[in-house]
């Protein structure tokens, strides 16, 4: 029995194998192992050590091995775990430490010269510097090399960028704190291992599988492993159909190299390993599901300089196009929603047929849409990606409280904090009480609105039904938010934040140290871990301005993913990112979101280095990521059954198909006869699913439109009292009175005070009231000065925004002349007597009792004579006012019947609408006794009609404006009907 897994290597050669695109990598890997182990001691495989590219790939291999085909299993580890083989490595620093250290330097640099990066926050800048520094550590590029770059060839801003990049060097080469980042640690481990192996090569088999060696440290490790006595490298998705000439073109390096070709990375690693790509043997036989598809895809993806091979090699494929495109469907949905629904339908179908399916897409939004669509059938896919921590419930509470601590606590922010599901989450009962109290608080906030909630505001709410314990808990929160706003050390800010957070989550009356459900469940534990890590590394963050704290926290949280753990993920449908898809496959593979910008993503703009500078330093070019994506695509599209999908439009814009799909369709369309036919079949297969999705969206039955409502209320239900303002409404829009006074529905007040017409109206009333109280008798000579003073004081007291105070002051001062002039005329008629005076009179002659009430803006008297005034923001025309503005004549009616108190009014000398906008104006509605009595009689008739059940409360009976929306139009379902529609009477009981 031989103890070797592989026959010995000839000197200086490397042991390299490959699996073709489309192969099930994990299954192929195991098959090859078993075949080679046949007849060997079972312990041989047990001594084998396999490194795979991801943790997920490791799990999948382990799962596959559980069927017992290999009795004593090899050790399978992800590549990062090579660090375990090197003893005495210092533990890795969490990534946040390096970023925090860099952020201090960035802050100093920005303070010294803010023009370097205008309007940028230090922490995000530090994050991108940290990413670059990680890349440099992996590729073993020393920051010293920046000095060797030739700035003469670079534009001015690159020169400045190089100055900035020296910051990286300060952190990477800091003698006081040598870098122990994950990247430098990995590089160091690989280098140490290679040195150890040179002296004591391991005799057991070592295999690196599934990596393309795109990162420097990985490539180094692969090169060393391939030359070990029993070492081997297994490359994923090596295209066996590329002619040697094309491999030659792919061997180029430099700025013009075809780095975006799917096989470029493999060509490079083959060069590093010293093997010829076209001669790399297969690891296991017959792993290609569709050899003809592999040939087609390989041709379609030929690098740009040699696409003329389409014309020469294409026709040879014509005969096998049918088999190449068999089980290949192309979905071109009208938009991403339809795309997601079609994909969900396919996944559902796959589940029904008992097969496995995987959705592969880099587009998380699309993945979420598909998940939601599947939810309809109670299917939960196994989603490999999680949700960023800042979007989970604990993450959201962390963000909200950070902002409350560093900004004003406005009502919206406060309610968001209080209503958060983790606030006061110690017990269900406590939470219930808390929600009740919060609802009461919200009602108060809407009544007595304030731009900023303070302890003082809270104490002012004397009528609030709050429990003392809850109120003091909330007070404590508001107090902490209002104090300590200066800059401080990150450690202090974290401590303050943790205190506030935990008290908030614990709720009122909870024992000290409790934190409710905040740190519980998966997301809570992840949040706790992130927070503790920040606390442990806060010393590296130094002092930070308070305003930066929320952004820093959010950045830290958003870099962590929390797995979305569905209650029971379906075992046969999965969603993978492109990284996960490299080493596993399913019966049916859906490649979704195949549009430029999504797949491949555009390389993110590199603010630090130009392409030329990267190349000179030996760092990967940005387009290499496209090459990696292309390789993912090539692997996935060669799977047994494949659906390609994309949306034709995104938002308003037409999308551009991904370059690989475009190549495939262009090639097919240009191949005579068979090509367009094959493409047509692919499209037809996809169109079937989109059509089904469209059917799913269409409702089975149409709902009839609502009719214009016109309820006839029972006499008893009609209001027993109405103010005069509602009488105007009863004439214009009876349905609004029905909603407000019969159904008693009121519009919700805004949470944050708004500078709207209502506020301005209240303000002008207040100005007039104060002015009149200040000048009770005849107008004094300095009336204008008094008025101006009143305007200024009122604005300062009543308008919370300084800018608006200025604006409105100008508008009010423009009215000064008009007010003084017209006020002199009013004082000649009568003397100011009552302001905002309430009055009421019972109607006589109605079937049921009815009380008409009023609040007159101003009632002037002189002996038995009276004048009534109403202040308006905007004046109606005189004819409109005479027809619809019944408020003043009815107030006159109340006055004449003694409704405004003693002494009774004998005669009305003036009824004026006073317009207080622009330069002012007056509408004189003064009428004789006969006309006033006629108005009173009309009112009595109107109320009688409603009280006897003869009149319908029609929606928008006489609307003032066709376009304006009333408060209750939505309730009346206006829009389904028009103002010109006949009303449909509904007699209510």
């Amino acid at each position: 029995m031989s103890e070797l897994l592989f026959p010995p290597l000839a000197d200086g050669t490397a042991r390299v194998f490959a699996l073709p695109p489309g192969a099930d990598f994990a299954a192929g890997l195991i098959l090859g192992l078993r075949q080679r182990a046949v007849g060997r001691a079972p312990t041989l495989l047990a001594r084998t050590r396999i490194f795979v590219n991801t943790e997920r790939a490791r799990r999948r291999l382990t799962d596959l091995l559980e069927d017992g085909a290999i009795a004593l299993q090899p050790t399978i580890r992800p590549l990062q775990a090579v660090t375990e083989l090197v003893p005495d490595l210092p533990p890795a620093d969490p990534p946040v430490r390096r970023t925090l250290r860099l952020s201090q330097l960035v802050r100093q640099a920005l303070r010294a010269d803010p023009s370097i990066a205008a309007d940028s926050a230090p922490y995000p800048l530090a994050e991108s510097l940290a990413a670059l520094s990680g890349e440099m550590q992996i590729e073993a590029v020393s920051p010293q090399r920046f000095r060797t770059l030739d700035p003469e060839n670079a534009a001015g801003h690159w020169t400045r960028s190089l100055e900035f990049l020296s910051l990286i060097g300060e952190v990477m080469d800091d003698p006081k704190e040598p870098a122990t980042d994950a990247e430098s640690r990995l590089r160091h481990a690989v280098e140490t291992l290679i040195r150890t192996w040179a002296e004591h090569p391991p005799t057991h088999p070592v295999i690196v599988a599934g990596s393309t060696g795109s990162r420097g440290a990985t490539a180094l490790l692969m090169a060393a492993v391939a030359r070990l006595p029993q070492g081997a490298v297994i490359l994923p998705g090596l295209d066996g159909d590329l002619p040697a000439s094309v491999w030659g073109a792919l061997a180029e390096t430099g700025l013009d190299a075809p780095v975006d070709h799917p096989q470029w990375g493999l060509a490079r690693i083959c060069r590093t390993l010293g093997v010829t790509p076209s001669e790399v043997p297969a690891w296991a036989p017959d792993q290609t599901p569709h050899p003809s598809r592999n040939r087609l895809v390989s041709l379609a993806l030929r690098p740009a300089p040699v696409t003329d091979q389409w014309r020469t090699d294409g026709p040879a494929l014509a005969s096998e196009l049918a088999s190449a495109t068999q089980n290949l469907a192309l979905i071109e949905a009208k938009d991403p929603v339809r795309e997601a629904q079609s994909l969900a339908l396919i996944l559902r179908h796959t589940v029904e047929t008992g097969q496995t399916a995987a959705l592969i897409t880099p587009d998380r939004q699309l993945a979420r849409r598909v998940t939601n669509a599947l939810h309809r059938w109670g299917l939960a896919p196994d989603d490999s990606a999680g949700r960023p921590l800042d979007l989970t419930p604990p993450g959201a509470l962390l963000r909200l409280t950070a902002e409350a601590l560093c900004n004003d606590v406005d009502p919206t922010r406060l309610l968001a904090v209080l209503k958060h599901p983790l606030t006061a989450s110690t017990s269900r009962q406590g939470r219930g009480t808390h929600l009740g109290q919060t609802a009461a608080l919200e009602a108060c906030l809407r009544r007595d609105s304030t731009p900023q909630v303070s302890e003082h505001w809270l104490e002012r709410q004397s009528s609030a039904p709050w429990e003392p314990e809850w109120a003091s808990w909330l007070s404590a929160f508001l107090r902490t938010c209002a104090t300590g706003r200066e800059a401080g050390s990150l450690a202090d800010q974290l401590a303050r934040h943790r205190g506030v957070l935990e008290r908030l989550a614990a709720g009122p009356g909870a024992p000290p140290g409790s934190a409710g459900a905040l740190w519980q469940a998966e997301a809570g534990q992840a949040a706790a871990q992130a927070f503790e890590e920040l606390e442990a590394n806060a010393d590296a963050g130094g002092d930070i301005p308070r305003s930066e704290y929320p952004l820093l926290l959010r950045s830290v949280l958003s870099t962590r993913d929390v797995p979305d753990a569905p209650f029971a993920a379906h075992p046969r449908i999965s969603i993978w990112g492109t990284l996960e898809a490299r080493t596993q496959t399913a019966d049916l593979v859906l490649l979704a979101g195949l549009n430029e910008g999504i797949w491949p993503r555009l390389p993110p703009p590199d603010p630090w280095l130009s392409r030329g500078m990267r190349d000179a330093l030996g760092l990967p070019l940005p387009e290499q990521r496209i090459g990696l994506s292309a390789h993912d695509f090539q692997q996935a599209v060669c799977a047994p059954r494949v659906v390609l999908s994309r949306a034709l439009r995104q938002g308003e814009a037409p999308t551009v198909p991904t370059r690989w799909l475009l190549r495939l369709t262009n090639l097919l369309e240009g191949l005579p006869e068979e090509g367009p036919k094959a493409l047509g079949r692919m499209r037809a297969a996809g169109a079937g699913w989109t059509a089904l999705a469209a059917t799913l969206e269409r409702p089975n039955s149409a709902l009839p439109r609502a009719k214009r409502p016109a309820p006839v209320v029972p006499p008893d239900a009609f209001p027993r009292t109405l103010p005069v303002t509602q009488i105007d409404r009863l004439i214009r829009d009876p349905y609004a009175v029905y909603a407000a006074r019969v159904l008693r529905l009121r519009p919700l007040q805004a949470l944050i005070p708004e500078a709207d017409a209502l506020m301005r109206g209240t303000l002008t009333h207040r100005v007039m009231e104060r002015f009149i109280r200040a000048t009770p008798g005849d107008l004094p000579d300095d009336a204008a000065a008094v008025l101006e003073r009143v305007i200024r004081i009122t604005l300062t007291e009543d308008v919370p925004w300084p800018a608006l105070q200025q604006l409105w002051a100008q508008r009010l001062l423009a009215l000064k002349d008009f007010i003084i002039r017209s006020e002199a005329e009013r004082r000649a008629l009568a003397d100011p007597h009552d302001i905002e005076v309430a009055g009421e009179v019972a109607l006589t002659g109605t079937p049921r009792p009815f009380l008409l009430s009023a609040r007159a803006d101003r009632l002037d008297r002189r002996g038995p004579q009276a004048a009534i005034y109403d202040y308006k923001g905007t004046l109606p025309s005189l004819s409109e006012a005479r027809k619809f503005h019944k408020q003043l004549p009815l107030e006159a009616g109340i006055a004449l019947r003694g409704g405004f108190g003693d002494p009774p009014v004998g005669d009305i000398v003036a009824l004026h609408l006073i317009g207080l906008s622009g330069t002012g104006g007056t509408r004189d509605l003064t009428a004789d006794r006969g006309s006033l009595d006629a108005d009173w009689a009309s009112l009595t008739a109107l109320i009688s009609a409603y009280q006897s059940g003869h009149a319908a409360m029609v929606a928008r009976l006489r609307p003032k404006f066709a376009y304006a929306d009333g408060d209750y139009d939505h309730l009346a379902r206006r829009g389904e009907w028009q103002d010109s529609d006949p009303a449909e009477l509904q007699v209510l009981e």
Binding site: R311, G314, E596, A653, P654, T655, L662, N666, E669, G670
Partner: protein, 92 residues
Amino acid sequence: MTRRDSATEAQIRAGRPDRSSWVSANAGSGKTRVLTDRVARLLLHGVDPQRILCLTYTKAAAGEMQNRLFQRLGQWSMLPDAALRTRAGNTG
């Protein structure tokens, strides 16, 4: 080569890469075509694709233009030489 009408002539003139042109015309009259032709002509003259910048005011117009250009180039890539000569000639 077939005779071209005056509108086509105007399109071809506007597509000359060595001139600055201001094109304003009705919807559907072929403005985007002029632009894509112009890009195609630049490419035929051997201009490096990285050195061509097309700016539009909206994402929609940008997507539209990209798709038209890619469609054109895609068709060309599979044409026999003679047909390609005719098509390329038609852009001016």
